[in-house]
């Protein structure tokens, strides 16, 4: 008679010890900053939770959301900032100017806030051509119009040749918190369905190919776009059943899910076969030994929706611009807490952990 293979007690003790260690707030002990600190994985988390949060300790920051919430004169506002250091400046599907607008707009949108206004700071490298600068200023203006936000203040600095890749941009954004839902990691509940707003890995792959370092011949476009229309549709369809949202940028969908599983103490299970991936992205990832789940997006969100509202939410996402391939990719469970598991298309299971190190070039 077959009987279940219970995990060796010693092995279980080791696994428990590891989870305890992982649950602790990480300490920032590194002697120097390495590229891994910017990659969105464990090293980035250590930098943020081990150095920045303790230094600036505020209730809003403790939540580690994409935007901080502040109350002002009766209005509830979301406030966020982001900087952009992509090389090359222009790539199929967009440019650094598009990213600078959409990146900040999306951080507001997934916090459940309607984006209102941006500030823009530019660090320009000596020798940058006026044509390149004009092109990016126009891209910023057009993206702001498309996203329905105004650029209301700004700053420029110029640094010597060799001190910036053409230009670095930094935007800050402010948005009005929408009252239809109060999304937050704390609202995640076992049974919630996980919705993904479309194909993954397009942006990171487009950048890698645009750099021409791999001699791969494929056309992949960045997915940079404002996510507010998708969020607006979700808020309409699911209301308070919309428990949490994140935009899956640096570190990809895998990093976002890990952050949330840890923050909420729940298990997240993803069905690999249900995750939409463009064939060109899947092919490039296969050749380069990357997992699309860890590749960056600039216009995709992950939403956690109560099971009863999941069908309506999916239909709303699919009807929103850029959401044609939205899908339900998994659900929230109780065990094992803090972990993300994948049911592989082959029929097995594995952990999908946080990214370690920096397998990818700078992409946003």
């Amino acid at each position: 008679m077959p009987h279940p293979d219970t995990l060796d007690e010693r092995e279980q003790r080791v696994l428990d010890r590891i989870e305890t260690a992982r649950g602790r707030r990480p300490k920032f002990r590194d002697e120097r900053i390495t590229m891994a600190h910017g990659a969105g994985g464990k090293a980035s988390q250590t930098l943020i939770e081990g150095l920045l949060v303790p230094a600036f300790g505020s209730a809003a920051l403790d939540v580690l959301g994409d935007a901080g919430l502040v109350a002002a004169g009766g209005a509830s506002l979301a406030f966020t900032t982001d900087s952009f250091v992509v090389r090359p400046l222009r790539f199929p599907g967009g440019s650094i100017g598009d990213l600078a607008v959409n990146g900040t707009v999306n951080d507001l949108a997934v916090a459940g806030a309607r984006p209102l206004a941006l500030t823009l700071a530019m660090v320009l490298e000596e020798g940058l051509t006026a044509a390149d600068l004009k092109a990016e200023v126009e891209a910023i203006a057009a993206a702001a119009v498309a996203a329905g936000v105004q650029v209301v203040a700004g700053d420029t600095k110029v640094v010597e040749r060799g001190h910036a890749d053409g230009m670095y941009l930094c935007t800050a954004g402010i948005g009005l918190v929408d009252e239809r839902a109060a999304p937050s990691p704390a609202a995640l509940k076992p049974g919630d369905r996980i919705l993904l707003s479309g194909t993954i890995g397009d942006h990171g792959t487009a950048i890698m190919l645009a750099r021409g370092e791999f001699e791969l011949d494929a056309t992949v476009e960045s997915d940079t776009r404002s996510l507010w229309p998708a969020v607006d549709a979700l808020l309409d369809a699911a209301g308070p059943g919309l428990h949490c949202m994140r935009d899956a940028t640096r570190g990809g969908v895998a990093s976002v899910l890990n952050e949330l599983a840890r923050a909420s103490g729940v298990a997240i299970v993803v069905r690999e076969a249900d995750v939409p991936v463009n064939p060109a992205v899947a092919g490039a990832a296969e050749i380069l030994g990357l997992d699309p789940m860890y590749i960056a997006n600039e216009g995709k969100l992950v939403a956690f929706v109560a099971a009863e509202q999941a069908d309506a939410a999916l239909a709303a996402l699919q009807a929103a611009p850029g959401g044609e391939r939205a899908a339900v990719i998994g659900e929230v469970r109780t065990e094992p807490p803090g972990m993300v598991l994948v049911e592989t298309a082959f029929g097995g299971k594995r952990v999908m952990d946080q990214l370690v190190g920096d397998p990818l070039p700078r992409i946003c």
Partner: protein, 371 residues
């Protein structure tokens, strides 16, 4: 993806799993070693273990090229990378491997010009583009990657690129396997043979395993269906009392190997009398250096390297893991002091390492049946 998805077909996987189940002798425990780190990675990535009965155990072997590099070689590499004017090129996997005084990633952050390449030809291109710099390629890998290093060296010589050199850490697969089979604490029923190495050396060099040690070997591809079929072929050999080298990966591996690749390797490389393996100690005639004919492109000749032997950290049990004597989680520092972001041992660094694979992918309770 055509020619890939077929080998990841869940339905086919279930059929093979059923056939494996039928070959199991109830109550018997089977230990099968996959030699190659690429296999270890694929087993965890696709959850192949979940389709096997619990008494068919896969044991992870020594075939991860990053995992077997000893600390002293990392230190030697970093010493070259710190020389003024040097651009040091390396595969990304190596960056986080700790030497006695930090990793190459640390050395890079501290100012050394260390660049990740995907092929030795990328390193040669960097040399061509930077004629006033010395470009060194840190070559690692089994017979799988050695031919591409050899061809790059031939190209460098043909094109007269004199600012390029190679620090050679290429190793060969048969000596560590023999060392493994000689170790008294090992109990294995069969081997999943290295697929990529065999595309170069062929299957014949593995014939000593059934001949001298009476263990079946099946050379396997790297997709989950390949792995299950290879397990099935080994289980059938065991059930039928056969013991031979079989080739599951015949779509890629010719039994005699790639004669042209072997020829190029023979021209460019020579056997080292001995080489230190992480956790396994010195193994004679187990690694390659540049041949005398290519001496002027040998980074160890061109630069002075400390060449100091550094003992493995005491707490680290990589050696026992590489031999399959203990499971990754049985190591004293696994998952606590030694994690992928702060590794003590090499097995925790490379995605092909047994510890990293288990830590990243396998760290949860599975539900499988014992037959």
């Amino acid at each position: 993806m055509k020619f890939v998805d077929e080998f990841r077909d869940a339905q086919l996987g279930r059929v093979l799993a059923g056939e494996i189940l039928a070959t199991v002798e109830p109550g018997r425990h089977y230990k099968i070693m996959e030699v190659c780190g690429g296999h270890t990675h694929a087993i965890y990535k696709y959850g192949v273990d979940d389709l096997l009965p619990a008494n068919v155990e896969l044991v992870h072997g020594p075939g991860c090229p990053v995992c077997v590099i000893p600390m002293g070689r990392v230190d030697d590499g970093i010493a070259i990378a710190r020389e003024p004017g040097v651009i040091f090129t390396v595969f990304g996997d190596m960056l986080r491997v700790p030497g006695a005084d930090g990793t190459m990633l640390d050395a890079k952050a501290a100012g050394a010009d260390i660049r990740v390449v995907y092929s030795p030809l990328d390193a040669l291109r960097i040399a061509r583009e930077n004629p006033d710099r010395e470009v060194v390629f840190f070559a690692i890998g089994f017979e799988t990657t050695a031919p591409s290093t050899a061809l790059t060296l031939k190209r460098a010589r043909a094109d007269g690129i004199s600012n390029f050199s190679v620090m050679c850490n290429h190793v060969t697969i048969v000596p560590p396997l023999r060392a493994l089979l000689e170790s008294p604490d090992l109990r294995l029923d069969g081997f999943i043979g290295p697929g990529h190495v065999s595309t170069v050396v062929g299957c014949r060099p593995l014939e000593f395993i059934p001949a001298d040690y009476a263990k079946p070997v099946v050379v396997s591809g790297f997709e989950p269906v390949d792995l299950l079929q290879s397990v099935l072929m080994i289980m059938r050999q065991l059930a039928e009392g056969r013991c031979e080298v079989e080739n599951q990966y015949s779509r890629v591996v010719p039994y005699e190997g790639n004669l042209r690749a072997l020829q190029v390797m023979a021209e460019v490389f020579a056997l080292r009398p001995h080489f230190e393996w992480r956790g396994l100690g010195f193994i004679s005639q187990s690694a390659l250096r540049l041949s005398d004919a290519y001496r002027e492109l040998d980074a160890e000749v061109r630069f002075s390297v400390p060449g100091v032997r550094v003992a493995d950290p005491k707490a680290c049990q990589c050696g026992e893991v590489l031999k399959g004597v203990i499971k990754p989680w049985e190591c004293k520092v696994f998952g606590t002091a030694c994690t992928p972001d702060h590794a003590i041992g090499t097995c925790m660094v490379s995605p092909e390492g047994a510890c990293a694979a288990y830590y990243n992918y396998g760290r949860f309770a599975r539900e499988r049946a014992v037959v």
